[in-house]
């Protein structure tokens, strides 16, 4: 077993996958904590599925699908942010429309494409085991950008996210910050679609963060803890998927949920224990 494990790390594809998982979890830990704190999970789902339209059109035109997805998802993200600023539009309905429109466009255009996109499946379910050097550079660049932005503007981001109106009354650049962040969400989603696919990408942005949220209510700690849980879960998932020969993306997410469940149980037992102690003292 140990020998098998160490020989595993001699495979380029496996070390690449592992590197991708670690780097991806850094950016997902950061931007995902923002998504969870601001309750933007549904918005993120909308952006994810809208990007499928971009993939379909890119296939049809013979362009790079990741580029198509990026353009589509950033535009739809900016659109959602713009709509949510208008008080006369119901944001969740607008997202629902965009969500299905993106999928519809994607399906129509891939269908119209001769030769019918054979690796379309890899966009739906991801393929972390086939990540390229370019993919690694891209997700690495995103992680660096996010680390810089969130360390330099941590408080500004936090204050605007918590109380937009108050931030406006202090003349903070609320709109600029919001548009930049939603674009970063869109880019993070697109780059991670390569790894775990459209259907599962939202889990990278929410499950480790929710697990972290069980242990701390402090934004900065949620970020660090979710990176930790994300890396542990992805590594575990990759190993299990390799040994049992099952799809890696799905296995990683399964491990995420198991860790979440264990964390919940652990926290509940701790709370019970401290309550018991308090009762005894009375």
């Amino acid at each position: 077993m140990i020998r098998e494990l160490s020989s595993l790390f001699e495979y380029q594809f496996f070390t690449n996958a592992l590197a991708a998982a670690v780097i991806a979890n850094i950016s997902c830990g950061i931007i995902g904590s923002y998504i969870v704190a601001k309750r933007m999970v549904f918005i993120s789902g909308g952006i994810t599925h809208a990007s499928f339209g971009g993939i379909g059109i890119a296939y049809f035109l013979g362009l790079n699908p990741v580029l198509g997805a990026a353009v589509f998802s950033v535009l739809s993200a900016l659109g959602i942010e713009w709509v949510s600023g208008k008080s006369n539009v119901r944001e969740d309905s607008a997202i629902g429309i965009l969500w299905s429109l993106g999928m519809a466009i994607g399906i129509i255009f891939t269908f119209l494409t001769p030769g019918y996109a054979p690796n379309l499946m890899s966009y739906l379910f991801g393929s972390i085991l086939t990540v390229s050097k370019t993919d690694l550079w891209l997700i690495g660049a995103l992680a660096v950008v996010l680390i810089i932005i969130f360390t330099r503007f941590y408080h500004l981001i936090l204050f605007i996210a918590y109380d937009e109106e108050y931030a406006r009354s202090h003349k903070a650049p609320v709109n600029t910050v919001k548009y930049i962040l939603i674009s970063l969400i869109a880019i993070a989603i697109v780059l991670n679609i390569r790894l775990v696919g459209i259907i599962l990408v939202i889990s990278f942005l929410t499950i480790p963060q929710s697990t972290a949220n069980i242990f701390t209510k402090r934004f900065s700690r949620i970020i660090f803890l979710s990176i930790f849980f994300g890396i542990v879960g992805s590594t575990g998932g990759l190993l299990i998927s390799y040994f049992y020969n099952i799809p890696s993306g799905a296995t990683i997410i399964f491990v995420f949920v198991v860790i979440f469940g264990i964390a919940k149980l652990f926290k509940a037992s701790q709370v019970k224990l401290s309550l018991k102690r308090q009762m005894k003292r009375l």
């Binding site: 204050f159 109380d163 209510k217």
Partner: protein, 255 residues
């Protein structure tokens, strides 16, 4: 103190979408003012405040903010707090956000800021809550935290939209005394429905009901209120000496 207004509104009309809520408002706020804003529900008090904060642009008319030395800081306590109660932010961080300004958006805590935060928390009697998450606070505690946020920057103008909604009455009295103290350093504009109580603390009264009538004294009579088209009853709970309510009409409120 200087004699030019720090905020001045001239013929301001403002509202939402297609609805004009306040009409032809003229108001000058001077550095040492303590203005009590009264008026019926839906009269436009909160709207007026948002115009002064720059959150709502006037449909027509003019508003100017001045300060001799740089930009005017305004501290603000909102009437209702619709923010997510489970948002991951601590009391200390919320209070710190009051120091955010055009010149100062990106830095972290400095030692000086830590001291300021501690000082205002002490002033509001909640230093023990500093490291709590906002989700763990009661309504009144949250109100005090938001008061800390409003005053921490030592603003030139402090705007309070019904500061007494959640706090208990012993703290309410402390709060008004504190405001009186703060008024030596800053202008205050305070909305309240507790007309009786505020008249003994404020210097002037603004009645807002679509129009604004500025009453340059803290003594007001029921007939004056009626002439301002401001349907408010003066006698509240007999908490305050009737003399501040004016000479003739204070005991007619029941008719």
């Amino acid at each position: 103190m200087s004699n030019s207004p720090i905020v001045s509104l001239k013929g301001v009309n403002a509202g939402y979408a297609d609805e004009v809520v306040i009409n032809d408002v003229n108001l000058d706020v001077f550095p040492s003012d303590f203005i009590g804003v009264i008026g019926p529900n839906g009269g436009g008090k909160t709207t007026l405040i948002k115009v002064i904060l720059g959150l709502i642009k006037p449909i027509s008319g003019e508003i100017n903010w001045n300060k001799a030395d740089g930009i005017l800081h305004i501290g603000y306590l909102p009437q209702t707090n619709f923010n997510d109660k489970y948002f991951p932010i601590s009391v200390k961080e919320v209070v710190f956000s009051g120091l955010m300004s055009k010149k100062n958006f990106i830095v972290g805590y400095k030692k000086k800021d830590e001291e300021k935060i501690h000082k205002v928390l002490e002033l509001m009697g909640i230093p023990h809550l500093a490291h709590k998450n906002i989700g763990e606070l009661s309504g009144g505690q949250m109100q005090r935290v938001l008061l800390c946020r409003a005053i921490i920057s030592e603003p030139g103008l402090l705007i309070l939209d019904e500061p007494n909604t959640f706090v208990d009455n012993s703290f309410e009295r402390d709060l008004y005394d504190l405001l009186k103290e703060l008024n030596k350093e800053m202008a205050i504009l305070m909305v309240s429905h507790d007309v009786g109580t505020i008249t003994s603390y404020v210097k002037t009264i603004a009645c807002v009901n679509q129009y604004l009538h500025y009453h340059k004294s803290n003594v007001i009579t029921q007939s004056q209120l009626d002439s301002y088209n401001c349907p408010i009853q003066l006698i509240t709970h007999g908490k305050i000496p009737h003399t501040v309510l004016g000479d003739h009409n204070h005991n007619h409120s029941h008719d």
